[in-house]
């Protein structure tokens, strides 16, 4: 034994092995027609989405001043819609590209051949993941013309574009890692593909459903009263039971219209200070929701991760359009901020939480947490898959064979 142990170490570098597996995978994929058909279908669908977005936002209206004006927000709305659809379709395509890699080799009888070379399980997984990821990135590349189209309207917030591309690539990579991990773990290709779709659905839909259902758990009954801004001309108006405006003595004001016009003029010159309110005398019961306790449920949602990570124009800047991704980011951060906006007056007392108009955008970013959760899930699945690829095999799952 000792005499033979001095034999040379088998020479296959980690990167060389990964590279060869990667080349084997990509060459096979590049030679199947289905992949190209999928790319063309993808291009057409994303193109249609972009065109509809352009139409809906009025970009095609005649330039008569009422329609498209440069910088009016059309490009941004379109850009965000394209983001959302690229991500949505990517979540549909990436599992299909990744979940058949290892299990497909297993059923074709080629996995054992690879395992019998100097490749380590890690190299097999890394090569297959890289191949799946690169082929899913091709779909991102095909979507670029639509992004450029949106940018031609001149109002896309430029720092958002590279961040969007990077984060989408990262999300594709995570989904591919999940797919490859499940694929290595699963006995059958169909099972691997379905499981990967379910895991992706868990992230994309399950998180939203869990968030929605959890509202029950964080509901709280509180006594609230109306906010009153004493300096606001409208809050000085008093009404009788019939809904008519009355003066200080309770007499109905004769010319209601003239009175309201006058109040409106006063209100127009009044600048509201959001924090200069008092709590009204009338109290009533209301439900408030501690959404800050459940917003983390949304963190791992790929849409939330991208919406939250992609920067938007500072709200103090010139008014521009904002699309669905921005709205999603605002909503999530508002949810994370929790109570302040929901019940400014509790038990007749003013809550000492400053309410600012843009509380949403000031909230802490949620996407790092979401990315971490996703990475942990992918790493766990890859680890489980790697264990299944180790040879010599000790325990073989029922109904499977090595070769």
């Amino acid at each position: 034994m000792s005499a033979t142990m001095v034999q040379r170490k088998p020479g296959l570098g980690f990167l060389a092995g990964v590279g060869t597996v990667f080349r084997m995978e990509t060459r096979q994929r590049l030679r199947t027609r289905g992949w190209y058909i999928l790319l063309v279908v993808w291009f057409v669908v994303i193109g249609l989405v972009a065109a509809l977005a352009a139409y809906a936002t009025g970009a095609w209206a005649p330039d008569d001043g009422a329609g498209y004006v440069a910088g009016s927000g059309i490009g941004q709305v379109m850009f965000e819609l394209v983001i959302a659809f690229v991500l949505f379709f990517g979540l549909l395509v990436a599992p299909a590209l990744s979940a058949n890699t290892v299990s497909g080799d297993r059923s074709a009888g080629t996995l054992a051949v690879l395992q019998n070379t100097l490749l380590t399980p890690g190299q097999i997984l890394a090569g297959k993941w890289l191949a799946a990821w690169v082929s899913s990135l091709a779909f991102l590349v095909v979507s670029l013309p639509m992004v450029v189209w949106a940018m031609t309207y001149g109002d896309v917030y430029l720092p958002a574009v590279p961040v969007f591309l990077l984060m989408t690539a990262v999300e594709f990579g995570i989904v591919c890692a999940i797919g490859v991990g499940v694929s290595a773990r699963a006995g059958r290709t169909l099972f691997a593909v379905v499981s990967t779709y379910l895991l992706v659905a868990l992230l994309a839909l399950g998180t939203a459903i869990a968030y929605g259902l959890s509202f029950q758990l964080v509901e709280e009954q509180v006594t609230v009263s109306a906010q009153i801004w004493p300096d606001d001309p409208w809050s000085k108006v008093q009404y009788n039971d019939a809904g008519e405006a009355v003066d200080g003595q309770g007499e109905v004001i004769k010319d209601q219209d003239a009175y309201f016009t006058q109040i409106q003029e006063e209100a127009d010159s009044y600048t509201i200070d959001p924090n200069a309110y008092v709590c009204g005398p009338d109290t009533y019961q209301a439900s408030i929701f501690h959404t800050e306790r459940i917003t983390w449920l949304l963190a791992a949602n790929p849409f939330v991760v991208i919406a939250d990570a992609v920067p938007t124009r500072a709200s103090s800047g010139p008014p521009t359009g904002s699309g669905i991704m921005n709205a999603l980011s605002q909503g999530v951060r508002g949810s994370q901020a929790g109570l302040p906006g929901q019940a400014p007056c509790q038990d007749g007392k003013k809550q000492d939480v400053a309410v600012s108009a843009d509380a949403g955008t000031d909230g802490a970013p949620l996407w790092p947490l979401g990315l971490l959760v996703q990475l942990c899930l992918a790493a766990l699945l890859l680890l489980l898959g790697r264990r299944r690829l180790r040879t010599p095999v000790r325990r073989l799952p029922r109904g499977t064979r090595i070769a």
């Binding site: 034994m1 005499a3 033979t4 142990m5 034999q7 040379r8 088998p10 020479g11 296959l12 570098g13 060389a16 092995g17 060869t20 597996v21 080349r23 084997m24 060459r27 096979q28 030679r31 199947t32 080799d105 074709a108 009888g109 080629t110 996995l111 054992a112 051949v113 690879l114 395992q115 019998n116 070379t117 100097l118 490749l119 380590t120 040879t391 010599p392 095999v393 000790r394 073989l396 029922r398 090595i402 070769a403």
Partner: protein, 333 residues
Amino acid sequence: MGIQTTRYDGGGPAFAHPEPLGVVATGLVRSFGTVHAVEAIDFTARPGEVTALIGPNGSGKTTLLLMLASLLAPDAGSIRICGIDPVADPRGVRAQLGWMPDTLGVWEELTVHEILAMMGRLYGASKASAAARADELLGIVKLAEFASRPARVLSRGQQQRLSLARALVHDPQVLLLDEPASGLDPGARIDLRNLLRDLADRGRTVVVSSHVLVELDEMADRAVFIAAGRSVSELTVDDAGARQRRYSIQSTDPAALAAELSAAGVQASVADGQRRKPTVVRLESETAAAELLRRLVLAGVPVTAFGPSAGALEESYVSSVGPAATDQAGGTR
């Protein structure tokens, strides 16, 4: 079908094996759940020999080969491939070992040459030497004209030859072939036989499992019989020839033949199962066979055919494996 001895930079220098040890497996046990695929197998294959692994379907041949190929861990027992333990150092074993599985697995969209070149790369060869080795192997297995065709267009026999070339890509010291002859046409079988003999003559350890016993007769030096997960016997092909065997005799005058056989005191029976109904006798050795033939001819019996009714290994197979195989089929394990 000579083998050029191109040095293969991924396979290491030939003098790295001062003491070539071949394959030594002792006391192997392996079960899958309640199925005891291998119950007690001892197996030895020596360098410079072609060792046949013979046994009925389900006797544990493939399970044994998977364990030898470092893909399956035995429940008990020990394996040494060139002195290396595949459980402790699978990659060390794989550098020395070529394995041709019984299931055909090919990367359908890759070309024949690409498959061999990439496999070479996976054993650590440089790009250039892997490509050169692929060319060389395609010549050896006579697939050169298919080099740039995708593997999916190959026939079963061609895929089988590609699989064999793949197992040889790193010029392994030990070659494990699971049913290599199935699907091959007669010409390719002869090529395979010559190739394996050639490899053995160059000091490689060659293990072949097969049902085609006549094939093994002609190329194997040694045979290991297994049945129902146990090694039943081991013998050299020369031993097998020296054993008691059946001979079939045909004559244009069956009555004269029968009379002379009974006069010689040889028990004879007529094989019903065969088309020409030869007379079958059981003889102790080849010397006894020669003696009987001389007597028949001298007695004027018109003998048209006289020869062993089956190959030496088939005889041994039936005598050593037969009862156990029947036993296995009857019992539920």
